[in-house]
């Protein structure tokens, strides 16, 4: 039985840079990664973690120092020509477009470079402009676009050839919240079509909302790869129950139950940490029978995981 190759594979991938008169910098340190076809995979890490370096190697822009990487079973170094038609790229920021040309001219040009048949170029560009909400401004020069519009055009360019794997490198960086939300809605649409997406970001909300799995990367090393929900276990093995308005007597009774590790004051009520899922239902029953109606269970958010694993470095990179 033939096995479908993962959309993205990295094996012991190393990338170093030698800045002039400075020590060697290791941007990627033995990175191993596998992304299944159709998966939306987040690469989450602070600035300088190695996310962009990894994306650039996977998109054939940069060579690895050692190790190997494949896209749908094709080596990104030896078989770059086979890789390129399969990938779409959206690097973040405002650059990367011909600002003196219109959005339509930009898209039609890239469609030619991705070898779309001549008869398909115009309809494909028009369809994508419609899809990303730029149809009315299709013939305006890109230099007149807002940042959000430019990012949507970047996305349209990434989709121009029907890529199997779409690389998004901080696509919502610098966008206002509404534009970022619109952009995420577009990504959600694209994932429903089965496109594999590798999303490099340091936006926790983005990763949590969009990704099936998230890889935490820091200083070129992978710290963990899990679903956003499962990642919580890495910083806390406890289930958390937040209760509002519980009196002292009830809290003392709960504290004596098996599996209850601690009870700490929260922002509004108290947070109870319970070790093991099997104890949660008993604790909940006691709380509800005690007359408390404000009850919520939760796991650590991705942001808590991020800070817990990577640490709060402030402005350090």
């Amino acid at each position: 039985m033939s096995r479908v190759a993962p959309a993205v594979t990295a094996v012991d991938l190393v990338r170093t840079f030698q800045p002039r008169k400075q020590p060697l910098v290791t941007a990627l340190d033995a990175v191993n990664l596998s992304v299944d076809q159709g998966e939306v995979h987040g690469l989450l890490g602070p600035n300088g973690a190695g996310k962009t370096t990894l994306v650039k190697i996977l998109t054939t822009v940069l060579l690895p120092t050692s190790g190997r990487a494949e896209i749908c079973g094709h080596d990104v170094v030896r078989d770059a020509k086979a890789v390129r038609p399969m990938i779409g790229i959206v690097f973040g920021g405002e650059r990367g477009l011909y600002t003196r040309l219109t959005a339509r001219q930009n898209l039609e040009y890239w469609a030619s470079l991705y070898r779309l048949p001549g008869s398909q170029i115009k309809p494909r560009a028009a369809g994508l402009l419609e899809r990303v909400g730029l149809a009315e401004k299709a013939d305006a020069r890109v230099e007149t676009y807002s940042r959000g519009m430019k990012q949507r055009l970047h996305l349209a360019r990434g989709l121009i050839a029907g890529a199997k794997v779409l690389f998004l490198d901080e696509p919502t960086a610098g966008m206002d919240p509404l534009a970022a939300r619109e952009f995420r809605n577009l990504i959600t649409e694209i994932r429903s079509e089965g496109t594999t997406i590798l999303l490099a970001t340091h936006d926790m909300v983005e990763a949590e909302v969009l990704c099936d799995r998230v890889t935490l990367i820091d200083r070129g090393r992978i710290l963990a790869t899990e679903s956003p929900r499962s990642l919580g276990r890495l910083v806390s093995r406890f289930q958390r129950i937040d209760v509002d308005g519980a009196d002292r007597e009830l809290l003392d009774r709960v504290a004596a139950l098996p599996g209850v590790e601690s009870i700490a004051p929260g922002t509004e009520g108290h947070r109870i940490h319970v070790d093991g899922d099997e104890h949660v239902s008993i604790v909940l029953k006691v709380i509800v029978e005690g007359g408390v109606v404000g009850v919520r269970t939760s796991r650590p958010s991705l942001e808590e995981v991020y800070v817990g694993l990577i640490g709060d470095r402030g402005l350090q990179v």
Binding site: K81, I87, Q105
Partner: protein, 255 residues
């Protein structure tokens, strides 16, 4: 071929959106007036062809160095170069396509100044050797394209590219025998002109406008081709080196 066509059309779009890129087509007739007046004042109306040839070369060179020479650097400045390198179509073919559009614009300058000379200045410019003229024009466009490609690569590597591109034009006009006949240059300088393809090309084009037979036309044509080919080989080697180095160092796009 897809890359070439895409590059060709891209540059056409630039010309359409920004006609100021075609400024040499505006200045070429002005230079024709200057050169025609100088020749008439000197009583050498028989050299009217020179007044057409010189502005044509100046326009072509302008397109080659100021547009074509910067074509890779502008891709870096726009941040489009990473996308271009990662596209399925060859990077070089796109760049050659863009430069070729510029050369077509430069070739149009010849038609423009010829018509201007004939109908506005009433200068007699007759092509007496049409085959030599056609062959030398085609080879000149080829050599100018490859020279432009070579400079486009050189400008990526050079820190003094702006200074060079701004100051190289008039020395090249002199060494190419465009403004002053090479025979009038100092003796020690004349051998240097042999490595400038324009010197062979200009002699051919001027010769094809004269009624007398052209001596060694075949050799001159071969020299234009060989020097154009040399520029192409150098450009290819440089481009391969630049792209490889960029993939190794990650310094392809400017940040």
């Amino acid at each position: 071929m897809r890359g070439f066509r895409a590059g060709f059309r891209l540059q056409l779009s630039f010309f359409r959106n920004y006609p100021d890129m075609l400024i040499p087509l505006l200045t070429a007739p002005l230079f024709t007036i200057i050169f025609s007046m100088v020749l008439r004042h000197g009583g050498r109306s028989d050299l009217s062809g020179y007044a057409v040839i010189a502005p044509f070369y100046m326009s072509l060179w302008w397109f080659a160095i100021f547009n074509g020479g910067w074509v890779i650097q502008t891709e870096r400045w726009e941040g489009t170069i990473d996308y271009l390198v990662a596209a399925p179509t060859g990077f070089a073919s796109v760049i050659v396509g863009r430069i070729s559009t510029m050369m077509f614009a430069g070739a149009f300058a010849f038609v423009e100044v010829w018509l201007f000379g004939r109908y506005v200045l009433h200068a007699t410019v007759t092509i007496h050797h049409p085959y030599v003229f056609g062959a030398s024009l085609l080879l000149t466009l080829f050599a100018m394209t490859t020279t432009s490609l070579f400079m486009a690569n050189l400008f990526v590597l050079s820190r003094s590219a702006v200074t060079f591109s701004n100051s190289a034009s008039y020395p090249i006009y002199l060494l190419g025998g465009i403004l002053v006949p090479i025979a009038l240059l100092p003796g020690w300088l004349q051998p240097v002109t042999n490595i400038v393809f324009l010197s062979w090309s200009a002699r051919l084009l001027r010769g094809s406008l004269g009624a007398t037979p052209i001596a060694n036309a075949g050799f001159d044509l071969a020299m234009v081709f060989v020097l154009g080919l040399a520029a192409l080989i150098l450009a290819s080697a440089l481009l391969t080196r630049i792209l490889r180095r960029a993939q190794q160092t990650g310094e392809l796009a400017l940040r």
